[in-house]
Amino acid sequence: MKVVIFSTCVVDMMFPNVGKAMVEVLERFGCETFMPMQQICCGQPTYNSGYVKSTKHVMHNEVDALLSVDADYVVGPAGSCVNMLKELPAHLKGEPAYQAKAQAIADKTYEFSQFVYRVLGIENAGAELDAVATYHRSCHMTRLLGESTSPFALLDHVKGLTMVPLPHIENCCGFGGMFSMKEPEISRQMVDEKVNDVISTNASVLISCDPACLMNIGGRCNRRGESITIMHLAEVLNHDVDISRVTYVDAQESKGVLI
């Protein structure tokens, strides 16, 4: 399987470990990965701030970059950014050529956990992490991309890992892209409630599939001096792997899981 890595600007700028872990997991399961270097950003920071016109060329650039390699799939480590790729055809309405290209991308794009679970059909990725952890569900991944199963299914099979439910799991962490910078007073109250909920679980690790949410919650934990380890799901699935533990989704028993 040929997979184009949709690295996202946040991972490019801030979180090399997340990108590395994702690539290593995909390659472990037989994917050939490509990283088009002209890619930058899906366009959310400016688009969601109202600069729709100024975002057109950002979207054009990303579309051209991700199509520059003839691959079967595009996979990204951020539910929100992946959803933006899915929305690009709608945002590029009125530009038929780009809209068609964007549609071609949208049709083959997956968020990391859903690609592993639903496309590769992996249930146990062979990882081990001896910890008590909780999971932050990102809003865009859950409600827009509609993916709320894959991460939990995969985490359930990590050896040594105990998952504790996060109270108010449906609530936003207060990131919201530029919202976190433009409305710091509101965003602070939201992320504080999220940090409090995380602490209330007594988990030592916070896991998510959206690095930006983790940057927000983790950054607030750090400012408040709350001790916690922050991990992207890819880092968990890449932790102490023993491939003899690998198991697959049973297509018969788990109807509707595989694409």
Binding site: E27, G30, Y47, C139, M178
Partner: protein, 514 residues
Amino acid sequence: MKTGSMIRSSDHDFLTRVKESEEDTFAQKAVAKAQDAQWIKREGARRELGNWEDWRKLGEQIRQHTVRYLPDYLEEFSDNVESNGGHVFFAQTDIEARDFITNLAREKQVKHVVKSKSMVTTEIGIDEALLEIPGMELLETDLAEFILQQDDWDQPTHLVFPALHKNRDQVREVFMEKLGYEGDNDPQHLARFARKVMRKRFLENEMSITGCNFAVADNGMINLDTNEGNADLCMAIPKIQVVCMGMERIVPGMREAETIDNMLARSAVGQKITTYCTFTSRQVDGESDGPEEFYVVIIDNGRSNALGTDFEPILQCIRCASCLNVCPVYRHIGGHGYGSIYPGPVGSILSPVLQGNYDDFAELPYACSLCTACTSTCPVKIPLHKLLLKHREIEMDDIHQSKLIDDVVMRVVGLGTGHSSLFRTALGLDHLAMAPLARKGPEAAKNLYSDDKHVEWMPFVFGGWTKVRDLPDPPAHSKNFRSWFKTHKPADVDPKIAKHTAQREQEIQAERKA
């Protein structure tokens, strides 16, 4: 008074309001508690009904269809009200509606008016206008509105629970001070006391003003949903009833009203149907109570600004307030923070539309983290977060309503994220540029900060980030993801795994062909 001026509920600026809301810890806790309780009730009621997504499609269709053929339905409705012996008045502005009702009260020499909860009457400022009539006594009869009125017309902060921000002690104090209440702070005792006070007043009133959940086009009735039954007393006892309705609050027939009533109750309060669901019109021959004179005031007041634009779906709204009940921003800034009588996601969209500009409500579309909880809960499928984005687009792209420096910064972000050579340069330089700002750990949040370094202060709009939380110090160029990718070598794939992946690939190909 200027048209649309009653929509504003505060003279304080946005940041002040946010701060005030945070300081009101009771109100903030009350909202969070209400949201959590409603989450359980609402989702439970929807689950019990079953097929919720299909119900939403039906709700959306009914409301979209009605808005699409609004002039036809309003025409049909007004014809039917007249043939039932009632009267319909059309008001393009709040001032017209206000003048009509106050003139009617003067003409009929009305001195006692009872009201049942209605946002549109707040929107047109009818209370203040009526109270200018010498000797006029006005009574809000919804318990929450009654409390707000007794508290010198405090502003509502929620569409369904207007007095959510008040606790039992505050209510008790108001009742003691204004009404001579002598009991304790038990909500049951407070409510029973209010019942007694209001019952007496109900019996002496001559005119009622009610809202309208839905007007029924094909028989000229209006449909009202309440739990207290106050609206029904308002519609039984006085000889004159004035119904105020936003012009979009209409459905084709009783069947559609019934469908929406069911969805409204489940979405608003987690009930199957509100305690009282009433269809009503002018008294018919032989009946001894109910209004002999029945007036319906159909109000535009800026609603038509939405028609024919991207904002048209906001007119689908059935005022269930479930978007408020799931909104994390509303959770923290409450109704007061929005500075509009219409708070929450729906209010952030509707308030500028009703006013036709962004003069008073420029910040509201930005008071949103785009978490989209509102869009997913809306029973009539209004794409709320997309409409908020649309406001932002108009504010930034069309009218450049931004603080100058932030605007330039955002345009630079747009430039930087759109040109790969610029971005690559930035990727190479960000570590160097931020190096002077970076602070060395030890970090409480582990595995987040490369080289154990974080940034505590940033310039421009980015300062909003570091005001609240630390930022990772960007990795040096040689350590970033791209540099690693260029040099990394894929490990050998286990043959069994490779076989499975190849098999999956074949399955998917086969599926696609089929």
